[in-house]
Amino acid sequence: MGIKIKLFATFREGRGKVVEMDYIPGMTGQDVIDHLGITASEIAAIIVDGVDGKVDAMLTVHIKKDGYLAIFPPVAGG
């Protein structure tokens, strides 16, 4: 059973739209971005299992088994 990481905009370059990772109990968003070679400062928004918040705080949240992350670089519009 794994977790799903949805990537957007420039984060897709060289990684694809969705990356799957094995679930390890206690794993956090920080573990995920380390695995993907993304640094916290490159992230503008992150959602962990449907919950969003400040990036630094969200990176410490434990991901659920079968959980998912959505990670965005700086994007905007209107």
């Binding site: 503008a44 928004a45 959602i47 969003d52 400040k54 965005f72 700086p74 994007v75 905007a76 209107g78």
Partner: protein, 599 residues
């Protein structure tokens, strides 16, 4: 006089009299220009109770002091009038080149009054200003109109309305350079009501800059801030505003089927990433814009490409209608431009009609057994758009906008609008500050009066808890005031992702020779906001119209990351009024108006 051209053109279409007046520099400084100065001139000259389609209503095309300078994005103009959609003050902004060309012709603003007997257009070439017959272009689509006028005036930029404006649709837009739009609040219909089809403009003058070296240095600094910023240097240039589809959808605030739900599992099909990968031909920037969010895209029907679509357009012709087809979105964008209609209101009215059909208020018989207006029915979109723009059959009902349509059936609650203007692409139940902004916006439902999406979703300049109420009234006020400043300066709002109030003050000071501090500039923004509010109150807009459709206040979001939430407007509105120094009904107090120099 520095920065401004110092001249205002006044054209009376009833009498044919054209006058050139001096700009009052002190007044200009107090209200900056563009939206602020335009509103000041308009509210001094026009009775707020005027019927928007009466000849006594005026329409002002006005630049900011930075329009036509070398500042980044310095090419924008504002259209100020009384809105036939909302009954409020309307100020509708557009990019492209037209505004800069008006400045090069030697004018800060054109005030059009009265009503022509027959269709006319206005041609401005420096000092030469003429009212010319427009019988040959009346009834024509906007791109044909532009091409015909370009043949007559090859050096000019063309601003025009389409059939929707001629036929007084309350959602009619004004188009310039074919794909740039003063889109909202029905400003195109005011042109139509005056029998004014178009304005062509050209010239070879330049504004005199107070401190040219200083402006050069500040412009350089601002350009590098824009380039280094992740949003303005990479996100927007690469993907355009369409990049928002996925992030808004993932937060569960991407409205689907007329805001009945807040997420679409198939939104990727109309995302910025898909648009870039499969449809983008090139970027399509406005005047002096280093960001270049504008797109030039192809589709099967438009192999040579068209300008667009923006995020709002993608959403409204996809998620909001329960259809996820990029080909349809691009074609809908094309037809909105040709007909001269606001994409947001056009799509939102189709969405409201589809919900009215879903609930049995609109029946097949009412549609004369024409194509069914049903969520997910891809065939309906272009079919009804054309009928809406041309006011044919049931399209005549649609051309009035979602509020008037739903109200006709006795159920205005199915119009997702504020002050009769359709809401843009963000469900307020999951973005509490944005909902407060919608409810209090001086031109009705709108995202570009204070883009709270930045802090609440995008983490810019810092991430706020989108469900939290505390502090949001303060954020809303600051965003609204700063937006009024940018709209009045002649720059694009998107610069604010990289620049702050100090940079705007620096650019204005070097251009005008003023010594504005960032705080004084924000105070000018607040002055403009209060002036608009005063106009609306005198126009008869009631305090209780500072609200949201009942769906957001009463129906919990059914699913997704915003599940269970309603908008808590009642808890924030009194705090917002207090923050503004207004009384509990949302009326500006004498004390505040004196402090702002409005009394």
């Amino acid at each position: 006089m520095f920065g401004y051209m110092g001249k205002i053109l006044r054209i009376n279409l009833t009498t044919g009299v054209i006058t050139k007046e001096d700009l009052d520099f002190e007044l200009a400084k107090k209200f900056i220009g563009g939206r602020g100065l335009g509103t000041k001139i308009f509210s001094d000259e026009v009775d707020p109770k005027v019927d928007p389609f009466a000849s006594e209503n005026k329409i002002i095309f006005i630049n900011g002091p930075l329009t036509g300078t070398a500042t980044p994005t310095g090419g924008r103009y504002m259209v100020v009038t009384k809105s036939p959609l909302t009954g409020t003050i309307a100020s509708s902004n557009s990019g492209g080149e037209w505004g800069a060309y008006l400045k090069y012709a030697g004018y800060d603003a054109v005030i059009v009054e009265g009503k022509a007997n027959l269709p006319v257009y206005i041609n401005i070439e420096n000092d030469k200003v003429e009212i010319l017959p427009a019988l040959d272009i009346w009834g024509k689509y906007t791109s044909i109109t532009s091409a015909m006028l370009k043949e007559k005036h090859p050096d000019s930029k063309v601003l025009t309305i389409g059939p929707a404006g001629e036929k007084l649709s309350q959602m009619a837009a004004i188009m310039n350079e074919n794909d740039r739009t003063a889109g909202r609040s029905g400003v195109g219909a005011v042109m139509g009501s005056k029998n004014l089809k178009a304005i062509t403009v050209s010239g070879n003058q330049k504004p005199v800059i107070a401190k040219p070296d200083g402006l050069k240095a500040v412009t350089k600094e601002c350009r590098s801030l824009i380039k280094e910023n992740g949003v303005t240097g990479e996100g927007l240039p690469t993907y355009g505003t369409a990049v928002l589809v996925n992030i808004i959808n993932e937060h569960g605030v991407y409205p689907v089927n007329n805001f009945q739900t807040g997420g679409d599992p198939n939104a990727e099909a109309v995302s910025g990433e898909t648009l870039t990968e499969k449809y983008l031909l090139k970027r399509n920037p406005c005047h002096h814009c280093p960001i270049g969010c504008g797109r030039w895209v192809k589709s099967e029907k438009h192999p040579d490409g068209i300008g667009g679509p923006e995020y709002e357009t993608l959403w409204v012709f996809a998620g909001d209608l329960g259809i996820n087809d990029m080909e349809i979105v691009i074609d809908a964008n094309f037809w909105c431009n040709e007909l001269g209609i606001d994409t947001i209101s056009a799509g939102a009215t189709l969405a409201a009609a589809m919900e009215l059909y879903q609930r049995g208020y609109i029946t097949d018989e009412m549609l004369d057994d024409d194509v069914i207006l049903k969520f997910g029915n891809a065939d309906s979109v272009i079919h009804w758009l054309k009928k809406m723009g041309n006011r044919e059959g049931f399209g005549d009902m649609l051309a009035r906008g979602s509020y008037r349509l739903a109200d006709f059936y006795g159920v205005p609650e199915y119009s997702m609008s504020v002050k009769k203007q359709d809401l843009p692409a963000y469900d307020p139940r999951g973005i509490q500050g944005m909902g407060l902004q919608y409810a209090t916006s001086n031109r009705g439902g709108c995202h570009v009066r204070g883009y709270l999406i930045s802090p609440e979703i995008l983490g810019l300049p810092e991430k706020l808890d989108r469900f939290e109420l505390a502090g949001k009234p303060t954020w809303v006020k600051i965003f609204q005031d700063l937006t009024a400043v940018i709209d009045s300066s002649g720059l694009c709002l998107f610069t604010s992702f990289a620049l702050g109030a100090q940079q705007y003050a620096d650019m204005l000071n070097e251009t005008l020779g003023t010594d504005w501090s960032a705080e004084e500039l924000l105070l000018a923004g607040e002055r403009i906001w209060n002036l608009e509010k005063l106009f609306n109150l005198e126009a008869g807009i009631l305090p209780e119209e500072d609200t949201l459709p009942p769906r957001f206040l009463e129906e919990e979001m059914p699913d997704g990351p915003t599940k269970g939430w309603v908008h808590k407007l009642d808890e924030m509105l009194p705090l917002y009024y207090a923050e503004r120094g207004w009384d509990e009904d949302g009326i500006p107090t004498e004390e505040r108006l004196i402090a702002l120099g409005l009394l």
